[in-house]
């Protein structure tokens, strides 16, 4: 029996992030309450910056399998890691913003106090602040990094839980409207636990099919043509359902609008961008590496799910009157657009000259979507009425006239989400749809283009409200501190750069799109 080896060099970013989270737990115990928030904030930013540097430095290292076949550190993993850490930093900055809500963070003073009770008032009066959110953020981000890198079903399941459990807690920690926030956490938790149980049962069936949890062995089992097709099909369906739930694809979407609305806005931004990134990374590896041989079985079903997702997100989005809820439905519609590229199944290592393929299509789309979405949520935190966020459309009336700069930036984000040329969102849609087209799903691309026109309807409706309606005097656009502005400006500049000069990023993603099998 050989002793296990660990490739520390390849997994260094993971270790740094986990180390940062462990140190953050110690900070909770050792640093005095008054200085804890700043220390936690700084520690989280530094840990993620070091991890990001390590990922960037590791791009040139030969891809390899680490930790006894548990993790596959290849091109797609590195793309997802880079994006996750960039957006994780963005979310951390939003977590650390205190100026918008009058010197306190967006999180409950004491999470265990009953809303409206005397204990809660005392905690608020004492200006207590919840600093554990940074620990939870780092742990969740660690799970998100492991998930798309996982090379066997068991690692994937454990990573799924590591990323989910802190998210459930973070959802319940809003400072204002705590009942909504707790309700969102309960819904997310119950449905999330159910979907991961389904994923696990699917993993057990795939294990029964191939005799191994390793993706490569499952692939070999499919190629050999093992008899028990029932096990394969049921396992394929159940594992996919588990991941599609995290993505928010119809019919596994019912939690998305409620949880996005109820959770504190920085957490919503983190979920909307980073969870989607990790889940799509994991879905691509699961479907392309482990179940690539069965693609004729899953492509059509996934195409139907993509159509349902796009149509539902676009059509129900039209009826919304709340910006936060609108962004939730828009994220469902975006999930459908990204699935178009997944259905194409143009794996990176089988590409001809000049093709971009599904992996780089998905990743580029997510980069553009992430920049616009995180920026939009940052703007959302600044529009307030008597201290709380005002998310209704009526509150946003005339915003563009009152605050020209903020209005122009928000319009840019909305145009990017609608897929208007010269923005990152347009190029993302282009490469994602081209991947679907090349994979032989022209009809799906036609549906996707029609649906992106429908989604443009609700984005333009919000733009119209921001510029042509009479302003509401009771709504304040508060001054935000540096962290929020960094997120907004990086989002705006990134959206423009991806739209005007996408070449270098697209080349980088395409060159790294091959999975290690």
């Amino acid at each position: 029996m050989t002793s296990p080896t660990i490739e520390y060099g390849l997994i260094a970013p993971l270790l740094v992030l986990l180390g940062g989270a462990v140190c953050a737990v110690l900070v909770e115990a050792l640093v005095p309450r008054t200085r804890r928030f700043g220390v936690q904030f700084g520690l989280a930013v530094i840990a993620q910056l070091i991890a990001l540097t390590l990922v960037c430095a590791g791009w040139s290292v030969t891809p390899g399998v680490a930790v006894m076949g548990g993790l596959s550190i290849d091109g797609p993993t590195r793309i997802v890691w880079s994006l996750l850490l960039v957006f994780g930093l963005g979310a951390t900055l939003l977590y650390g913003e205190r100026r918008v809500s009058g010197g306190t963070s967006a999180f409950a003073a004491q999470a265990h106090t009953v809303p409206g009770s005397r204990a809660e008032h005392e905690a608020i009066a004492a200006r207590q602040e919840n600093t554990e959110v940074f620990v939870l953020l780092e742990l969740s981000l660690f799970g998100m990094l492991v998930f798309p890198a996982a090379n066997d079903l068991l690692t994937m399941f454990v990573a799924l839980e590591i990323l989910s459990l802190p998210l459930y807690v973070m959802c319940s920690l809003a400072r204002r409207r705590r009942l909504l926030s707790q309700e969102a956490a309960l819904k997310y938790f119950l449905l999330g636990a159910m979907s991961s149980a389904l994923f696990l049962f699917g993993a057990a069936l795939l294990y029964g099919f191939s005799g191994s949890f390793q993706f490569a062995d499952i692939d070999a089992g499919i190629t050999l043509g093992i008899e028990s097709q029932t096990l394969l099909m049921a396992g394929l369906a159940l594992t996919s359902i588990g991941v599609l739930f995290k993505i928010g694809a119809v019919p596994f979407h019912s939690w998305v609008p409620d949880v996005y609305t109820g959770a504190p806005t920085p957490v919503t931004a983190f979920m909307a961008v980073c969870t989607k990134l990790a889940a799509f990374g994991g879905l691509l590896r699961l479907l392309f590496v482990a179940l690539g041989g069965a693609r004729w079985d899953w492509q059509l079903v996934l195409a139907v799910i993509a159509v349902l997702t796009m149509v539902f997100g676009a059509v129900v989005g039209l009826a919304q009157n709340d910006v936060k809820r609108l962004l939730a439905y828009s994220s469902i519609a975006h999930a459908g657009f990204i699935l178009v590229a997944v259905v194409g199944a143009m794996a990176g290592d089988a590409l001809g000259e000049g093709l971009t393929g599904s992996v780089s299509g998905v990743m580029f789309y997510l980069a553009g979507y992430g920049l616009a979405t995180m920026g939009a949520f940052a703007v959302l935190t600044m529009v307030r009425r008597s201290g709380g966020e005002a998310t209704g459309f009526d509150a946003w009336a005339g915003l563009g006239r009152r605050e020209p700069v903020l209005g122009a930036i928000m319009t840019l984000f909305l145009l990017s989400m609608a897929g208007i040329p010269l923005t990152g969102g347009f190029v993302g849609k282009l490469v994602a749809f081209v991947a679907g087209w090349q994979g032989g799903y022209a009809w799906l691309v036609v549906v996707a283009i029609v649906m992106s026109l429908v989604t443009a309807g609700f984005y333009f409706r919000l733009v119209k409200i921001m510029y042509f309606d009479e302003p509401d005097a009771s709504v304040d656009v508060v001054k935000a501190g540096t962290p929020t502005w960094v997120v907004i400006i990086v989002g705006a500049v990134g959206t423009l750069v991806l739209g005007l000069a996408p070449g270098s990023v697209l080349d980088l993603f395409t060159s790294a799109a091959g999975f290690l099998r």
């Binding site: 839980e161 009942l179 938790f189 636990a193 005799g211």
Partner: protein, 99 residues
């Protein structure tokens, strides 16, 4: 030993769990149903482990138990927080966030 019986039992347990999750309105019962689904998967993995003659499935079952324990901690914390606020653990009462 015929493994089919165990596989069928685990599928039945999964269906009972799924059915309980859909039908029961109490958050605690719904959560217990999820735990039943996890244990159905455990039974399936241990059985397949026996069929294939390896240890992978049995080791996986231990991982699942640890994960389930962590999930219980988080889940009960959320359910108890809500119960202290509303004196109710029924998921039908959670209707502030409507479409």
């Amino acid at each position: 030993m015929n493994p089919n019986a165990y596989i069928i039992l685990s599928a039945i347990l999964l269906c009972i769990g799924l059915f309980g999750f859909m039908v029961r309105r109490n958050a605690l019962i719904a959560f217990m149903s999820v735990e039943l689904m996890l244990n159905a998967a455990n039974l399936a993995m241990v059985t397949f482990s026996h069929v294939h003659g390896g240890l992978d499935g049995q080791i996986a079952a231990f991982f699942v138990m640890v994960v389930a324990a962590a999930e219980v901690v988080v889940g009960l914390a959320i359910i108890i927080t809500i119960f202290r606020t509303r004196q109710s653990a029924s998921v039908d009462d959670e209707n502030l966030l409507k479409h």
